[in-house]
Point group: C2
Chain length 392, copies 2
């Protein structure tokens, strides 16, 4: 038995963690563009990075360090430090070596435009503005935003049966370039739970599959995707089941928030696929649906065009049969095992569901026990506007 209580203060919820965001002039409008997360004792780190082969410099820099503990993460937005070769790595070394002496093995993370060298001097000047005794998770969450329209944060206090407790909290950014091949975003999770490094990595991997890797905005995968879990063990308390549940809730919430904030998105849709021959095939179908342009534009048009859903299921590569397939919009079943009972009354009911900000499209393939849940959004004019003109 354990109890999760939602609390404020994101990455500063856990004991001993500090964070803030400042403006270093990377964004043109004086908005916050640099953040730090600091722990007053050293942390173990678990991480999941992009599968993109054009891995950004900060990720290569992290990997080059091997096994280590840290007490500091430096994050900048506006510039991804990707496709910058050896110079990109050297820039990170120079920036991190300018940090104060009480910082150990600092880690850097970047997001923004690809193929431009970091404005090193601005970033080094920015780090001088950091006050390591500040607990402002919201400012940090704002500073890591790029095309995000709102900051993303969450935290839980986890109480065990004997009254002991630990904390876990997170901030994240991610709006476009969210893909099921790897959740394309930055996410930093901090905890004072007394968890081993090995278990941190195991639980982070497993929950990434079910959450960030099940979220899609536009099917692209970036060069900088990073999920990092830091633990300073300060609470001295740990319970695997409770920790895993809190981690799952945090990552599911952030994955859904990222999709909800998908570039130009107006709807958050859960694709619930059941009856596939395996969980893997259910995943293939759910991700095909969440990535289909024809489905996404139908969502935007609030058109219960179930034919496009059926066609996408068929095109996904997974085993499927029109005589066994059923499709529902929330609880309105529009196609049931070959029965075309999609009349005008049904269409009105289904269209009502589609007007909602958030709903579920269920596909039962009628073949087996495989199931998966993916999260997607619609695609409208705003997506085109944002992405046709991102750099200028």
């Amino acid at each position: 038995m354990y109890k999760l209580t939602k609390i404020e203060s994101g990455v500063c919820a856990a004991d001993g963690f500090f964070a803030d965001g400042v403006s270093a002039g990377l964004k043109p409008d004086g908005a916050k563009d640099m953040a730090f997360i600091y722990s007053d004792t050293l942390c173990d780190i678990a991480s999941v990075f992009t599968t993109n082969k054009m891995t950004a410099a900060p990720i290569r820099h992290f990997r080059n360090k091997g096994d280590f503990q840290t007490n500091f993460v430096l994050i900048n937005s506006k510039n991804a430090n990707a496709m910058t070769g050896k110079a990109g790595i050297e820039d990170i070394d120079e920036i991190l070596s300018a940090l104060p002496a009480n910082i150990t093995n600092p880690v850097m993370s970047s997001t923004g435009v690809i193929g431009v060298r970091l404005p090193k001097d601005k970033i080094i000047s920015g780090t001088k503005l950091f006050n390591l005794t500040t607990r402002n998770s919201d400012a940090a969450a704002q500073a890591i935003m790029t095309t995000d329209s709102f900051a993303k944060k969450i935290a839980y206090k986890v109480e065990l049966e004997d009254g002991s407790n630990f904390h876990i909290g997170a901030i994240a950014k991610g709006a476009g370039m969210i893909n099921p091949a790897m959740a394309t975003m930055l996410c930093f999770i901090t905890t004072d739970a007394d968890i081993t490094k090995e278990e941190m990595q195991t639980l982070l991997n497993a929950n990434t599959q079910l959450t960030f890797n099940a979220a899609s905005v536009d099917g692209d995968t970036s060069t900088n995707d990073t999920v990092m879990l830091l633990s300073n063990k300060k609470s001295g308390i740990y319970n695997k089941e409770a920790f895993n549940k809190a981690l799952y809730e945090i990552m599911t919430f952030l994955a859904r928030e990222m999709v909800r904030d998908g570039e130009g998105a107006t709807k958050l849709v859960t694709y619930k696929v059941t009856g596939a021959v395996s969980d893997k095939e259910a995943e293939v179908v759910a991700k095909a649906l969440s990535n289909s342009l024809l489905v996404k534009t139908a969502l935007y048009g609030e058109d219960p065009n179930w034919g496009r859903i059926a066609s996408t299921v068929g095109a996904s590569g997974a085993k499927a049969d029109e005589a066994l397939l059923s499709i529902s919009f929330d609880d309105v079943c529009v196609y049931d095992k070959g029965n075309l009972y999609f009349d005008e009354a049904m269409e009105v009911k289904a269209a009502q569901v589609m007007k909602k900000d958030s709903f579920t499209i269920s596909c039962d393939l009628g073949l087996g026990d495989g199931s998966f849940r993916a999260y997607g959004c619609d695609l409208g004019y705003k997506y085109v506007e944002i992405n046709a003109d991102y750099r200028t």
Copy 2:
């Protein structure tokens, strides 16, 4: 030695072929919506169909017939006869059995909305309007259009060294739902060349890979994709090399026309990938580029955002290395093996290329000899407008 001469009259270019388009009231505005292709002698057929598992009724009907010759293809637009189960097959039987007695083993092909029964009576009435002595390939090409903004047709006279000749011509439709997994469209090719059925199928398969399967508008694959090649052998003439060249030219032209007419497209882009470890990996990269939403919106914005191209190459799954990669827009090289010489002057030059209606993006991976060429378009507001509101 042989000579190809472009001629008029599309599917009626070959001896003994007739075609027309009529309005049967399927489209609301009195536009042509039914077409036929008729040969006054029986034809061998080669065909390539969709890989979508929700195969439309006309394709299942065709496959159920086994091996046969025909002299008649009936095509309707506006209704795909897909997801219509056994009833969809029975509807085709009823429609085809109402055709005149001089028609042998007729074949049906449909395109349009999924999940609605065919308006059988309207279609049967429509067939009464057909005049089998008409040679109006343009009317047939118009009748099979759905969201196409122009009709697609082409024909060649093929002359051999000894002065003998044969003909090959085609019509096609396809604007949205064009995917490299299988060119999503209808295409009918007729010839009087004296080619065997086996060779027809072999050459059709090979050229489909290089043409329709290399074209992408939005990454979706429909339930109705069909490429059909009909030969009545009337010329008595055949030469493999010449026929194959003419078939390749016809299919390449139509594939590019379909992409150029991609829903809302303003640009036709050729993705030329070289230096991959294999042709297969080059294909993976070229298709990833032609399908990437971030690349497509950058094209629409005429933004030479080569970082998105590099990121998409890296995300494709193919082997790639930023230190070996080069990227060019036509002959403007913007990234060369880790050299970031993308300054303002270069950006202006690259932006000039992107203003063109048609250009080539080349990616050399610097790893091996694998190459592939894919065709894609941009994605703008118009695509969203068309697809958010297709059914209404």
